[in-house]
Point group: D2
C-alpha cells in the first residue's frame, strides 16, 4: 500500500482549568452578549426558555386559514452547500422483493423496511448546543470535554429539546425587501436589514419569536448546474455578528436561514469562520436553524401580506446528540 | 469457514398481472373497507387528505394553555418491543476532541458533528404506505414492485407527507377507562373499547381526527427487567381488525398507539400477523403511528379532563422512504 | 417542501420465463464464451475453481525472498474514480475520551472501538457474481431475481469465496511495456497488449493465474488536483471485450486492474457500458478485481525482473454479498 | 417525552503529564514485560516486526498440499459472544430490482451494489494498538489522547499493518490436548497448557510464529439455543495473564483464539477485565486475534498431525482505525 504519512503532532499540554461536578469549567467567562445563568445555572435549553406556554398559545391563535408549509429540504436529492456527506437511504426489505418471492410473506404480504445513515445536520436542521463551543466551553459554561464519542453530549444533548420549538414564526424576507431574487454570496445581514424587512412587512419582532430569514440562497443553489463553480462555492449570504446584540435584545427564541451556515460566509473582516456560531450557540444559547427552505413560504407571505404564523419543529430526540434534522412546519 | 447452507428455493413463476403506466396493478381489488380512488386515482397520501385547512385551523383553536407534550420515545435507550436493530449514534467530531488538540479548531473552536444509523421505524414512527401491502399491491392499487432497493418507493414515498400531520388529536385512554395501568399483552381493542373510552372522556371522534390510543404498554415494558421473559415477549395489546370499519366510518386521519405494532399481537383468531396492517395501510390508506409514548399525556388528560388538543407531527421527508421517525407534539 | 416529482413509470409486464427450484432461469443461454455448467450445474464460485490445491502449493513455492506487497488503496482518503459514496469511519468509543473521563475505564483503561459504513466495492475490491448480470440472469444461469434487499444474494453470495483467492499472481505491466507512465483514459487493453507484456516480462500466463494488469491509472489519478476535469472524468484505460476469449482460453482465475471498472471506459464501439462485465461475470464466472494499487509492485518487478509470485486475497465473508473489499497481498 | 436523566459527572482535573511532539506521554512507563522502544522509538506495528522476509519465506515453504482454510466466522449470522451490535448489510441496488424494471439497466443489465455497517471488531478480527491502553498510554508510550472521533487514531492506526500478517501459523489445540470438546467458560490457559499442547503436537513455538489457540468455545456457542443462559453468558476460556511472559519470551508475532476476548473471562483473581489486553496490546505491542473459528482447522490437524502452516491475514487498511475484520487463511 502506498504510504499514508502521519500528520504532524505539535505535542500537548494539559489545560490550566478544572471542571466542577456540574460540568462547568471553573472560572470560564462568556462573551459580552450572553445568557449564561439567565435561565438557571444548570439550564441546557437556552433560548427555548422563551417559548413559554403563554407564547405558544398566542402563536396557535395566529392560525387563521390552516394553510401549512413544510420548510424542509427533501432528503435524498443532493443538499446545496452541505458540509457533510450525503445521507444514505437503504431498504433492508423492499415490497418489490415480495414479487420476487423473497421475504417471509412473499407477494401475499410484501413488506418494506428502510434505514437511513445521515449526519444529523446534513439537511434542514437544528444546531444543538454541543455543536460549537469556544475556548473549551459550551453554552452556559459547560465543558467542551463533556461531548465525546463514548458518552455523546453528556450535557446539552438535543434531546432536552424534545418538546419542540413551538411559537410565533416570523418571516423576514430580506431578499425581497432588498429587491433581490436571492442575496449575493457573502452578503452580511445586520440589524438594519432585519429591521428594514420587519418594517416593510409590518411585523414587530418580539420576545420568543422564531425568526426566519429568507435570502433565496438555497433555492438559487438548487437551480445551478451541478459541479459548476457557483454550485461548489461555499460563500453564502448570512447573519452578521453585528446582529448578535439585536437577537439578544429582542429575546429571539430561534434564528433560521435558507443557507448552510446561518452566518455569512466568508465571515466579515475581524471575524473567524466560527465567530458567529460561538456568539450564538455558546454565549446566547440561541436556537439556530440551517438549510431551511423558505421560498414557498416567502412567496405566500408576499402574496397575502401575512408574515407571522404558528411555527412548529420537533427535533429527533437522539439522546446526547449535538444536532437534529428538522421538518419545520409553518401554519397560517 | 464453516458452511452457510443456501436456503431452499421453491422456484418462481411470473405473476399473471400487468402494471399500467400509473403504477397500478391492472384489475387489482382492495378489501371491502377501502379508500381506493376516494381521494383521486393517483392519490398517494390516503387519510392525510382528511387534514383539510379548515380542520387544521379548528385544531389550532383548541390550544388554551400552550402546554406541550412530546409523544416520542428517546432515541438511544433500548426500544421496548422494537422489531429492528437499535439505532447507532456516532460522533464524527466531538467537541471534547478539541480539548485533546484534535480537529482544526482545537480547544479554541471545539466542534461536534454526529451521525445516526437507524431503521426509519426503529422508534416512535409513522408507517408509510410502502411499508406493508397485500397480494402484490399497496394503497390505492399501486404495485408492490414499485418499492425497490434501487429506486426506493417509486410511488407512495413518505416524503409526500412532508407538510405534516396536523389536526385535532384525541386521546382515548382505553387502559384507564378499563381500570388498568396497562392492558394485557394480546388484549384486542375493538369499537366497543374505543367508543367506551370516548364516551367516558366526553369526546366525540370525528372526521380528520388523530386518534391516540393509550394502552400503557410501552411504559410498562420500559419498567421490566431487561432480558426477562416479559420484556422479550412480542405480545402486545392493540387495535383489532374489528375496529377497521370504525376507523373508516369515522374518517379518522391517523391511529397511533403506545405499542410496537399498533395491531394486537398475536392477532385474533382468523387473522394473520399482517392482516390489520393490510386493511389499514393498503385498503384504507390510513396513517398509522407506532411506539408513541402516551403515558405523560394520558396522566395530564386524566387530571384536567381535556382529551383533545392540537396534534403536530412532521415526518422526515426522505424521498422514497416507507416510514419515518416522528417526534409528535400535542399542545393543549 | 418544494415538489419532488415522481419519475415516470413505463408500466411493467411479467417476464415470459420460469425459474426452477435450483434458482435457474429455464431456457436461459449464456454468451458464446462461457463457463456455465463447466464446474457443475450448481457451481457458485466460477473460475475460483481453477485455484486447485496443487496450484496453490506451486504458487507458494514461488516465494523466495518473503518480500510482501499490499495491493490495496488506503480506506479513508478519497478513492480515485470511485462510483460510490466514500466510506464513513466512526469511533463509537475513542481512547482519547478516557483522558476526558468518559467511558467506564476513564484514563486508566482508555478504549477505542470503531465502525465503518461503506459500499463493499468502494475501494480495492472483488466483484461478486451477484454484482452484474445480463438478460435477467447471473453466472451459471442463476436468476437475477435471487438478489434482493430482503434476502441478499440468495445464491452466488461472495461468502462462497471465503477460502480466498490464493494462487500464482502474474503482473502484466502494460503501461511500462508500452513506454507509458500511465495508459491514457479510454485505452483498450486487448490480447496483443497482454501477450506483449507477458513476453516482455518473460512470463507465460497459465491456468489458474491471477492476472494483475498495471495501467498506472490510479496512481496518476491520485496525483491530480481534486475537482480538476481530469480528476472527475470517468474515462479509464481497461480491459477490452476482445480480451474475453484470451481470458477464457488461458483459464485465468482472476483479472484485476488499477482502475475503477476493470473494463475500458468508455467502452469500445459496439459495446455498452456493462458489456464486458456481463461477459466476464455472468458468462465466464471470472473473478474480477478493481481499484488495485499496482504501482509499488510494478516498480519492484521492473527492478528485479520477477513478475510472478504468491497472491493471496481473502474477501470479507459477508453472507449474501455481491462484492467485498480486498487487501490483496503479493509475496515474492 | 419521558425524562432521560443526565448521568452524574464527577468533575475533571487536568492530567499532570505533558505529551511531546512525537505523541509520547513524557515519563510514561510500561509494565515489566514490554517491547517499548525495542523496534524503534516511533514504531507503530509492534510484534509485526517479527514477521521478517526470511520468516515469511520459510512459512511459505511449509505449504505442501495447498489445502486452504478460512478461519473467519461468516458475517451475517449472529456472532457468538460478540460485544458489539451486529453488522448491517444493505443492498443499495439489487439485481432483482432489474426484474421489476428498476434501475437504469432494468432486466437487461441487472446490477447489485451493497453496503456494510459494522463495528470493525464485530466478527473475526484483529485488535489494533489504539484499541486498549492503560494509564493514558498506548503501545510504545503513545498518548491515548491521540485517538479521537475527529482525527481517528492519529498514531497506531491499523493501516500501518496493511502489508498483512504473513508467517508461520501454529495451531495449539488446547481443548483436544486436555481431552475436551471445548474448554469450560472461565478456564485460564497459561504457559503449561500452551507448552503441553505444543509438545503433544510435536511443534515448537518460535520467534515470529502466529499462535492459534483452539478452545472449541465459538463452535460450542454456535450450537446453543439462542437466548439461553449459556448463549448469553459472557464467560469464556482464554489466555491467562500468566502467559504474557511466555508470549514475550517466545517472540510470538500474534496470538489468536476462538473466543471473543482472547483473554480468559472472567479474569483470574488479581486481574481486572482489561489487565490482559493492557499487557498484550499496550506493553508488548502484540497482535491479538479474536473470534477466529478454528474448529475445521483443528480437526484437520488432528487428522494429519501437521499443526504448522502458512498463515495469511490482511487487515482492511482503514486509515486511523483501531481494529479490523479479518478473514485469516491457513494453507497447508
Amino acid at each position: 500500500m502506498r504510504d499514508v504519512p502521519d500528520e504532524p503532532f505539535p505535542g500537548w499540554d494539559p489545560p490550566p482549568y478544572h471542571v466542577d461536578d456540574r460540568g462547568k469549567v471553573v472560572g470560564a467567562e462568556p462573551g459580552p452578549r450572553n445568557n449564561w445563568g439567565r435561565f438557571g445555572d444548570l439550564d441546557q435549553i437556552g433560548t427555548a426558555n422563551h417559548l413559554t406556554p403563554e407564547r405558544v398559545a398566542a402563536a396557535a391563535a395566529l392560525v387563521k386559514t390552516g394553510k401549512r408549509f413544510s420548510l424542509a429540504l427533501p432528503i435524498g436529492p443532493p443538499t446545496p452547500g452541505g458540509y457533510r456527506s450525503e445521507p444514505l437511504h437503504f431498504y433492508g426489505m423492499a415490497a418489490g422483493d415480495g414479487v420476487l418471492g423473497s421475504g417471509r410473506g412473499g407477494a401475499r404480504y410484501p413488506v418494506s423496511d428502510d434505514y437511513i445513515v445521515m449526519a444529523l445536520q446534513a439537511s434542514t436542521q437544528l444546531d444543538g448546543f454541543g455543536h460549537v463551543g469556544g475556548d473549551s466551553t459550551l453554552y452556559n459554561g459547560y465543558w467542551a470535554g463533556l461531548v465525546t464519542a463514548t458518552g455523546g453530549a453528556r450535557r446539552l444533548g438535543v434531546h432536552h429539546l424534545a418538546r419542540g420549538i413551538v411559537g410565533r414564526g416570523v418571516l423576514l424576507d430580506v431578499a425581497r425587501h432588498l429587491g433581490a431574487e436571492h442575496l449575493e454570496p457573502g452578503f452580511p445581514i445586520g440589524p438594519d436589514e432585519l429591521d428594514g424587512a420587519a418594517k416593510a412587512h409590518g411585523v414587530t419582532v418580539g420576545a420568543g419569536d422564531i425568526v426566519l430569514v429568507h435570502t433565496g440562497h438555497v433555492g438559487w443553489k438548487l437551480g445551478l448546474a451541478p459541479g459548476s463553480p457557483e454550485a461548489t462555492n461555499r460563500s453564502e449570504p448570512g447573519i452578521s455578528t453585528r446582529a448578535i446584540p439585536w437577537l439578544h435584545d429582542h429575546d429571539v427564541a430561534m434564528i433560521a436561514t435558507d443557507t448552510a451556515a446561518c452566518s455569512v460566509v466568508p465571515p466579515e473582516p475581524g471575524d473567524e469562520f466560527l465567530t458567529w456560531h460561538v456568539a450564538a450557540l455558546r454565549d446566547l444559547g440561541l436556537l439556530v436553524g440551517e438549510l431551511f427552505d423558505l421560498d414557498e413560504l416567502a412567496a405566500d407571505c408576499a402574496a397575502d401580506g401575512h408574515y407571522a404564523g404558528l411555527f412548529v419543529a420537533a427535533p429527533m430526540p437522539v439522546v446526547g446528540a449535538s444536532g437534529s434534522p428538522l421538518n419545520p412546519l409553518f401554519v397560517k
